[in-house]
Symmetry: C2
Amino acid sequence: MSVTAARGFTASGVSAGIKDSGAPDLALVVNRGPSYAAAAVFTSNRVQAAPVRWSRRVIGDGALAAVVLNSGGANACTGPAGEDDARAMAERTARALRVEAEQVAVCSTGLIGVPLPMDRVTAGIDAAAAELSEDGGEAAAIAIKTTDSVHKTAVASGSGPDSGPRSGSGPGPGPGWTMGGMAKGAGMLAPGLATMLVVLTTDADVSAPTLDSALRQAVRTTFDRVDSDGCMSTNDTVLLLASGASGVRPDPAEFAEAVHDVCLDLALRLVADAEGASKEIEVRVVGAASEQDAVTVGRSIARNNLLKCALHGEDPNWGRVLSAIGTTSAVFDPDRLDVSINGVRVCRDGAAGEPRDKVDLSGRAVTVTVDLRSGDASATIWTNDLTAAYVHENSAYSS
Amino acid sequence: MSVTAARGFTASGVSAGIKDSGAPDLALVVNRGPSYAAAAVFTSNRVQAAPVRWSRRVIGDGALAAVVLNSGGANACTGPAGEDDARAMAERTARALRVEAEQVAVCSTGLIGVPLPMDRVTAGIDAAAAELSEDGGEAAAIAIKTTDSVHKTAVASGSGPDSGPRSGSGPGPGPGWTMGGMAKGAGMLAPGLATMLVVLTTDADVSAPTLDSALRQAVRTTFDRVDSDGCMSTNDTVLLLASGASGVRPDPAEFAEAVHDVCLDLALRLVADAEGASKEIEVRVVGAASEQDAVTVGRSIARNNLLKCALHGEDPNWGRVLSAIGTTSAVFDPDRLDVSINGVRVCRDGAAGEPRDKVDLSGRAVTVTVDLRSGDASATIWTNDLTAAYVHENSAYSS
């Protein structure tokens, strides 16, 4: 269902020839209105790709009519010519759709430092515009893949101010309002450097400030907590477009919850599709003095290469967990730390607890729970194991 | 030559049976005086092993008569019983050497969370005491190995206040003073979690405060800059013992330079022996507004898994370097960043420079030079590539 689950949107995905493989590599998402409210969250990386610079500027007025996305080239670190190319993508899209270039966001993903083949890109935009349809969401989601093994979509819906949102993979527009989304990303062992592109659409009637608030809050506890160092790549972009086509103005809290649910759904799909990973690891930190402490401890554990290797080898090496906790400035007493791995409390009071061999790590899902015993705050970080396949995928060719 | 290169020291290494393999696993280093001045730098990890807690306490008076070290078990996260074991190691050593327990530092390395087999440890201490000799430095260096493929030693010497230090692998005590050292460590892709033990000895006549100052300064620009996140493990310890047996009181600056040289020599041996690594990577950051900025940027690059994989695959992927720089808060302009890889300026002004295929990455040594073009400060961080062998070594068994 993807970005066309909600009423008021069309989308398409085509093969423009940007990728040598001939795989689909150019997508359009178009908001047909009646409202054009939009919000965005961009990478916090200070080295920002040209399309990010462009999109950051045009989102300033809280309105978007369309998004043009390409895979096969990041248009990052491409100098002034790259800036021109990003603008040209918006302008070509605007011309094809009869809107203003300043209403078009641009997203690119692929290798850094290589100019886009603009003749193919512009021809691809024209072809994609000709293929726009209310069923084009899947094609768009497929066209933004890079090393992704599957395309990623999610849908949620709500019936109005009096009921909660429903989340799941089905079943299209209900009597209320709907939200759909697509995501691209598969390098989640180092999200800081693997591009993540996300486009969410809704037919709810929501103002730009409300969209912005809901999106920032959702990203903070979902995409920002997938793995590692929390530093985004040069191109990461999360967009939320609202057409208002349902005519329903949802309760802000209910709407925010739906945005969170769709973002979490997509974030977990990114973890599940991480390059070369064999485990999906949930690091839950509880008993923290503050949410910030919980996040800091969780990230420290999640980016620990030695622990990632140990879990890949199905070794519940809790000593690595304690070492990682010890590198942080969070509030805790080293002699009062508890660690459970897949439900077995292998470390109690900072020392050995239940026997390691009680831990079953044969499955794909791993939960590491740390109790700092210093307060009531908690946070969850999601990550993956570190595998030889990951090394292969990231060393055998440029990505 | 190791820790017995300098006059006034004896050492030994024996197989105590702590390791199942039967390999040497217990070492003694003894200062015979006439001076017993000593200094130490310990892990900054807040989860500290029992031997670190013990040694931190006994170094308080700036004097040590001996160091007892074991491999095969870290005695970390072992609770109150672990504290008793560390103290028992010092007491047993003190009894064998007829010194006070408070004059004995203790170092342990191996798996976290497992109690030491104290009957074997104490018998090993007695055996090691019986084997002490002025030629025991190599045996001691061998006995502290864990996953190290080679033992690591270094020597430097100085003839007095009027000449500079000489550094190298030879040739024993000169007419002046000598410094020798041994190091253990091989997990340098994540030094934060791989134990590093270093013992340096000198026959120079140097006071404890001067030792302390020279050691801290040297560690800050050598061991602390080997790789990654700068967070040390639960057990990391660097000790410097001075016997004064040469009768020479060196110029403090010359002495400090010798300490630095020996530490750098040993640090580079750790990088060269990193688990599963195929490249030794020197990250040089120049043109920084401050040394702190240079260190921050260097560490950010050095701990970037995707870049480590790319360099393993001999791909000069400078986009990953820029992405890593962009995650820092250092002073720089993204459009004025220059990056050279093995001397080829592949990125100029934040965009593509010389062709990638001019870069020869076939050798083991790789230098990544970043010019932030924002000042005169610089720093070097040393790291390794990320390989399937690293994953194997850290997933196939507990370490």
